[in-house]
Amino acid sequence: MPDSILQVNDVSLAFGGVKALTEVSFAVERGSVFSIIGPNGAGKTSMLNCVSGRYQPQHGLINFDGHDVTELKPNDRARLGMGRTFQNLALFGHMTVLDNIMVGRHHLMKNNWLTGPLYWASPAQKEELNHRREVEEIIDFLDITHVRKAVAGTLSYGLRKRVELARAMALKPKLILLDEPMAGMNLEEKEDMARYILDLNEEFGITVVMIEHDMGVVMDISHQVMVLDFGKRLITGLPEQVMTDEHVKRAYLGLEDDSQLEEAS
């Protein structure tokens, strides 16, 4: 059995009458790119929320990197090395980009409300600067140097997505969860984003779980794809396998006559 960093067993989640997830199981191999696709409202984001601790599944187990995290608080999961971005942008709107990313370093830093204010007289300054250096590297990597000091709330949509990614990377995660990282981007930017994702996967060795609607991207960069529909797992497999599945075609792609996607598959 391959080494899986994330195992989700039989997770079910319901909101009142709405069954968002029904007995979903999957495993993500360490170092891979794992995509979740599915129609709108299928429960993809809910799945991510269960993994990152925003929602408590009513049933099922989630194992991350050898720890049972099912009951853990979100901040403790972050500590274990789980970063994520959000579908409906969740940046700290009034902070600068730099500070936003520095928040990602939170759990790696030690200074607190007593030592931090003593700044010069404590290790705080050194610590701050060390982390700042690493954050700058991430900023460089994602090409957002020019907006480093801008207030996050005033950025355009696409840039904000990139800052979110930077913030998630700052956590030094082993696993990163991306919720529609390419929504609202044009082709060129999607290419950039794909490049970043690949780099962070290949160079930094971070496992990626990604929700995305752009089939081209999903096909090209993921190692495994899972399809959700109405809260249930439809199929898990290699991209080519998934793309040719009849159910998937009907429920999700609807690509009878779409030449572009055909050529992609």
């Binding site: 929320n49 925003r54 959000f86 579908q87 409906n88 969740a90």
Partner: protein
């Protein structure tokens, strides 16, 4: 245990509580449509009561005429305040707007003191019998009247928010002014309407309380008393405001009962509701009827 006293206190609490409820509803109305916590609520009561008092005493109008005229005046007043002071604040941080209402409260409290003095003034007699007796407790007629008015207003508000187009528009405005504008809702109109209504209804309460206790600047204290009531019921619930008001009213009186009979701590009447408020909020963070914030990500 002194059951007679207990019963009388509870009845007293119910009746006073309903009045808190009415004022609370105005609060909720403004909050629901503008997200503004109106710290000048008490001053609306005060100004309404003084306006009515002036019409009856200076102009010597008959009660009902004076009363309705002052309601009309208050509607205009509410709209005017909104136009002059709150309109420029549309889209500004909520807390700045709250601070503005605090400024208004300071301003109007001083203004009424200047115009009408610091001494409390009594309303002229309106009803032949001022009180009636329920279970051995004398209750002012004005209070009973207000009970009826309270219920009518409550049902009205409830239907308004649930079903009317303007009610929807108000809620939308409260949620997101920018989106509301993008839907063609005139935020200005919505604000004007809600402040107008709130001022009018508060004035009613002000007149009722003024008839019982006399008119003085302390009427504005009701504005603070109503806070726990509204929070208890849930900031955005019309029914909650009434229930919260009644709960606070009864609580005060129960506190007085236990204090005077057993505890002898003193001042429990004023403080106990706040302890209870903290306890209730602990278990129901959005009050009894308030809607939870949507926490989706």
């Amino acid at each position: 245990m002194n059951f007679e006293l207990l019963l009388q206190l509870v009845i007293n609490g119910l009746i006073v509580g309903l009045l808190y409820g009415v004022v609370g509803m105005c609060f909720v109305l403004v909050y629901k449509s503008t997200q503004i916590v109106n710290f000048a609520q008490g001053e609306f009561l005060l100004i309404g009561a003084w306006a009515c008092w002036a019409m009856l005493v200076y102009l010597e109008l008959p009660f009902f005429l004076g009363f309705f005229l002052s309601l009309g005046f208050m509607a205009l007043f509410g709209v005017a305040i909104q136009m002059i002071v709150l309109r420029p604040m549309i889209g500004e941080p909520i807390i700045s707007v709250i601070m503005i209402t605090i400024g208004l409260s300071i301003f109007f409290q001083a203004l009424t003191k200047w115009i009408f003095g610091v001494a409390p003034q009594s309303f002229p007699r309106v009803f032949d019998t001022q009180t009636i007796n329920i279970a051995g407790l004398n209750i002012e007629l004005a209070y009973l009247m207000s009970t009826v008015i309270a219920l009518i207003i409550m049902v009205g508000f409830f239907l308004f928010f649930k079903y009317s187009k303007h009610g929807l528009a108000m809620r939308a405005t409260a949620f997101d002014q920018q989106v509301a504008q993008s839907l063609g809702i005139s935020v200005k109109q919505v604000f004007a309407m809600s402040w107008g209504i709130a001022a009018t209804v508060s004035a009613t309460a002000g007149v009722v309380i003024g008839m019982v206790n006399g008119v003085s600047d302390s009427l504005s204290v009701i504005g603070i008393k109503v806070f726990p009531a509204v929070i208890l019921g849930g900031l955005d619930s019309i029914v909650g405001a009434i229930v919260g008001g009644v709960v606070i009213g009864v609580l005060e009186n129960l506190a007085e009962f236990f204090d005077s009979q057993y505890l002898h701590i003193g001042n429990m009447y004023d403080i106990a509701p706040f302890y209870v408020l903290l306890i209730i909020l602990w278990f129901k963070p959005y009050g009894l009827f308030g809607t939870k914030d949507i926490e989706r990500i």
